[in-house]
């Protein structure tokens, strides 16, 4: 029972950065923009988040620093792909490489430093409940924010007019422009939102997951977040399931090593990526029943005036 509780707590912690980053990217892709720079924005968010928290001692300020760093980097992407109509894939890849370099530069001085991890919620009477207490009422703030965020995104997309306009732009930017919607402005806002989410997801790692900063500590989580959006077929509900599933895979491989399962540890570490590949194959094979991919995803739009 205690082991199960520990595993669930660990899965929640491992899944939260995936869910945060993927939530932002889902909104970006729903607007028709493919930003492959999630990994880069996350790692810069991690470095800046740690720097902010180390300087002030506040997790909240650290998280805000991470968010702003993510937004700043996403603005570079927006300027290139939306302002100058550069290829989105190439720009996204470049953004990741840039982010890894910048984070190394910012974080160089912080390697080996420690901060205290994010405080956990404590409600007397509830948090002490057996088994469910710590899982439901004893998490750090990031976990609750990540869940609130995806619920808010669902509500925004399907229950508000602004969300409808965003979906319309992702489906057909030419039509949306013809109806008078500011395609590039809305896409820029979506990209910034995605950048903020990725930055927050990155900041989570040194602020709550481990109390220190290591270069390259995102370790491919940004790529998993990208795959997650496809896995979820751009639907918020499935995104939550996918995020916890992917988180669980990464935790179970640690435990499997501990239990001495006779599988090479390298193979176990590769499991999330293998799962991504399998899921992508499955999706492409069963896509026939009404695809939900935003039709304008990744295409360049230049309005005629």
């Amino acid at each position: 029972m205690e082991l199960l509780e520990a595993i669930i707590l660990a899965v929640l912690a491992a899944s939260t950065p995936l869910l945060l980053a993927a939530s932002g990217e889902l909104l970006v892709e729903r607007a028709g923009v493919l930003n492959l720079g999630v990994e880069g924005m996350m790692i810069v968010g991690a470095a800046c988040g740690f720097a902010g928290a180390w300087a002030t001692g506040s997790t909240l300020i650290g998280a805000l620093c991470g968010i702003f760093a993510g937004i700043a980097l996403s603005l570079v992407f927006a300027l290139m792909t939306l302002g100058l109509a550069v290829n989105q894939v190439a720009t996204g890849l470049a953004l990741t490489i840039l982010g890894i370099g910048v984070s190394g530069l910012i974080g160089a001085g912080f390697v080996g430093e420690r901060i205290s991890t994010a405080p956990r919620l404590y409600i007397p009477g509830l948090t002490t409940l057996p088994f469910v207490g710590k899982i439901l009422f004893g998490e750090d703030g990031f976990v609750y924010v990540s869940i609130a965020l995806i619920v808010a995104i669902w509500y925004f997309l399907y229950r508000t007019r602004a969300g409808l306009i965003l979906r319309a732009i992702g489906d057909n930017h030419v039509s949306a422009h013809a109806l008078g919607y500011p395609v590039l402005k809305i896409r820029t806002l979506a990209v910034m939102f995605g950048g903020g989410c990725a930055g927050l997801a990155g900041a989570y790692l040194p602020l709550a997951y481990t109390p220190f900063f290591v270069p390259g500590m995102t370790a491919g989580r940004g790529w998993i977040a990208l795959a997650l959006v496809v896995f979820a077929s751009w639907l918020p509900g499935r995104l939550v399931i996918g995020a916890y599933l992917f988180g669980a895979v990464s935790i179970l491989q640690l435990h499997a090593q501990g239990w001495g399962v006779g599988v090479p540890s390298q193979l176990m570490s590769a499991l999330p990526y293998l799962a991504t590949v399998v899921v992508l194959v499955l999706i492409s094979r069963t896509r026939s029943g009404g695809s939900t991919a935003p039709a304008a995803l990744g295409t360049v739009f230049v309005p005629d005036r």
């Binding site: 007019r161 409808l164 306009i165 979906r167 319309a168 489906d171 057909n172 030419v174 039509s175 949306a176 013809a178 109806l179 008078g180 919607y181 896509r287 026939s288 029943g289 009404g290 695809s291 939900t292 935003p294 039709a295 005629d304 005036r305």
Partner: protein, 522 residues
């Protein structure tokens, strides 16, 4: 309607007026000082060839494009539009030629996007049902657009505009994609809108329609206004002369030498679509002899693209015998192998399918000619041969271009289409499959292309032409078949194929009920 300082006797009755409206793109004048006046309760036609400036003018009136010079008056007052929202707020609505719809959203969501969102989604949905009933334009608000027929899609556009209760509607080539019967239903709606006091600007190049429906017509050519006239007092020929500027050559068929050898045979071809929204081809059979032109009519999206892909070898069939080219089973053969058997293909889309837009014409000649025309020796390109093909096509088909070997994308639609058709015909094919040969091509180029097809048939080739233009098929085809929901009707002799029969086939209603399992969306 007492406009202060108004000196014009009729200014009170003019709803929209443009004065010297000009739109410049660099040194190119898309609209050159256009004056047009539209009154309430008037259906005003805007006539012109492709590139005459019709779309630029209406986009300016709808606020999508800012004019370079000139002004617009709305009910006698100066009107400056920052965007379509401004136009809609005044009561100007537009139905686009290329629908501004969102395939993965529902009908109600599509309509909501065209409105300014001042009412709740629920109230809007209720009003949508009311308006669509009121005008006899039935729609199911909960269906997603990709499931709907072209006619239904247009209904969404019209209902969306009507829900704004506009004083002035712009319709951009609304009948281009409709069956004759659907067009008739549309005209009933338009007459009704007119009787309610609304003004309509009706863009078309179908002259008989304009003569039938419109009160006034303004003709544009090369960005300039040529004249405003009363279409009912003109003849189709006089309107065409104003649009084109010269007399259009009539195509004439040389007496066909029908051979008894079937050149192209399709045996019971069925093919599942490879895309989510594609059409399933079902049991298509036909036989085409040398010297014969078979026309395939049908509303776009009924399987014509899929059929073209199956014939050209872009999609392969499991059973080689389903497609026979000049006596050889070819269903399993690649495009190149089919070309080597003497087949040639002209797809509908000129840029991106027929040619690679950013490559030179000589390189584009190589793309289809490499298999059989001596353009490649031991893996090296014979540049002289590719350039010679460009020169011959230029000469034989009057391709007008700025230099000897320009990029494909730099040619106008008509000239590029003449090059593509010429490129294929110069290979002396025994079978030519051509899709929408004159779509979006000016009348002069269209006549050249149609004549070339007739001449090729006279020389003994079998030609399959897919077109949505019934007049074109009537001009050149010996027999006409209709494609509907992936099935092909029995071909009719062209003489027996009147518009009404074809229209019924295009709407699916002439098929026996068992052929149409899913009722055609009403």
């Amino acid at each position: 309607m007492l406009d202060s300082g108004s000196g014009h006797a009729r200014s009170g009755t003019v709803l929209l007026q443009t004065i010297g409206l000009t739109k410049r793109y660099g040194s190119f004048l898309a609209n050159d000082a256009i004056d047009i006046a539209i009154r309430p309760q008037e259906i005003h036609a805007l006539l012109g060839e492709n590139g005459a400036g019709k779309s630029t003018l209406v986009k300016t009136i709808y606020g999508l494009i800012q004019p370079s010079e000139g002004e617009m008056l709305w009910q006698g007052e100066k009107m400056v539009l920052a965007g379509p929202h401004d136009a809609r707020a005044r009561g100007i609505g537009m139905v686009f030629q290329h629908f501004s719809l969102f395939d993965n959203l529902t009908v109600a969501e599509n309509v909501a996007l065209g409105l300014d969102g001042k009412e709740s989604f629920k109230a809007m949905s209720a009003r949508l049902e009311q308006v669509s009933q009121q005008y006899g334009l039935p729609l199911d608000p909960k269906r997603e657009v990709w499931q709907l027929s072209v006619g239904e899609r247009q209904r969404i556009e019209i209902v969306r505009v009507l829900m704004q209760n506009p004083k002035f509607l712009i319709l951009d080539e609304p009948t281009a994609v409709l069956t004759p019967q659907e067009a008739d239903q549309l005209f009933v709606v338009l007459e009704r809108l007119k009787s309610e006091g609304r003004a309509i600007l009706y863009i078309s190049h179908k002259l008989d329609e304009v003569k039938r429906l419109c009160d006034t017509a303004t003709i544009l050519r090369g960005g300039k206004k040529i004249s405003t006239c009363l279409p009912r007092e003109e003849t189709a020929a006089s309107l065409a002369r104003m649009m084109v500027g010269t007399e259009i050559k009539q195509v004439k068929a040389v007496a066909h030498r029908q051979t008894t050898v079937p050149r192209l045979v399709v045996n019971d071809l069925s093919l599942a679509p490879d895309e989510p929204h594609g059409v399933h081809l079902k049991n298509i059979s036909l036989e085409l002899k040398g010297g014969e032109i078979l026309g395939i009519a049908g509303v776009a999206g009924n399987g014509q693209d899929e059929f073209f892909a199956a014939l050209s070898g872009e999609r392969l069939s499991r059973d080689p015998g389903t497609i026979v080219i000049d006596g050889h089973a070819a269903g399993h053969l690649s495009i190149t192998a089919r070309r080597k058997l003497g087949a040639a293909f002209v797809p509908e889309e000129r840029l991106g399918h027929g040619t690679a837009p950013r490559m030179r014409l000589s390189e584009n000649a190589l793309l289809t000619g490499h298999a059989a025309s001596g353009m490649v020796h031991n893996g090296f390109i014979n540049t002289a041969a590719t350039l010679a093909t460009v020169d011959r096509a230029t000469e034989s088909f009057d391709v007008r271009k700025a230099k000897r070997d320009p990029e494909a994308a730099s040619l106008s639609g008509g000239n590029l289409q003449k090059f593509i058709v010429g490129r294929e015909i110069l290979r002396n094919p025994v079978v030519l499959v051509v899709s929408q040969p004159t779509w979006g091509v000016d009348a002069g180029a269209a006549a050249v292309i149609r004549q070339a097809l007739l001449d090729l048939a006279a020389a003994g080739a079998a030609i399959l032409v897919t077109s949505q233009d019934l007049d074109e098929l009537a001009d050149i085809a010996d027999r006409i078949a209709v494609m509907f929901h992936g099935r092909l009707s029995e071909p009719l002799m062209t003489a027996d194929a009147d518009r009404e029969t074809l229209g019924l086939l295009m709407g699916g209603s002439a098929l026996t009920p068992k052929d149409v399992p899913d009722a055609v969306g009403a």
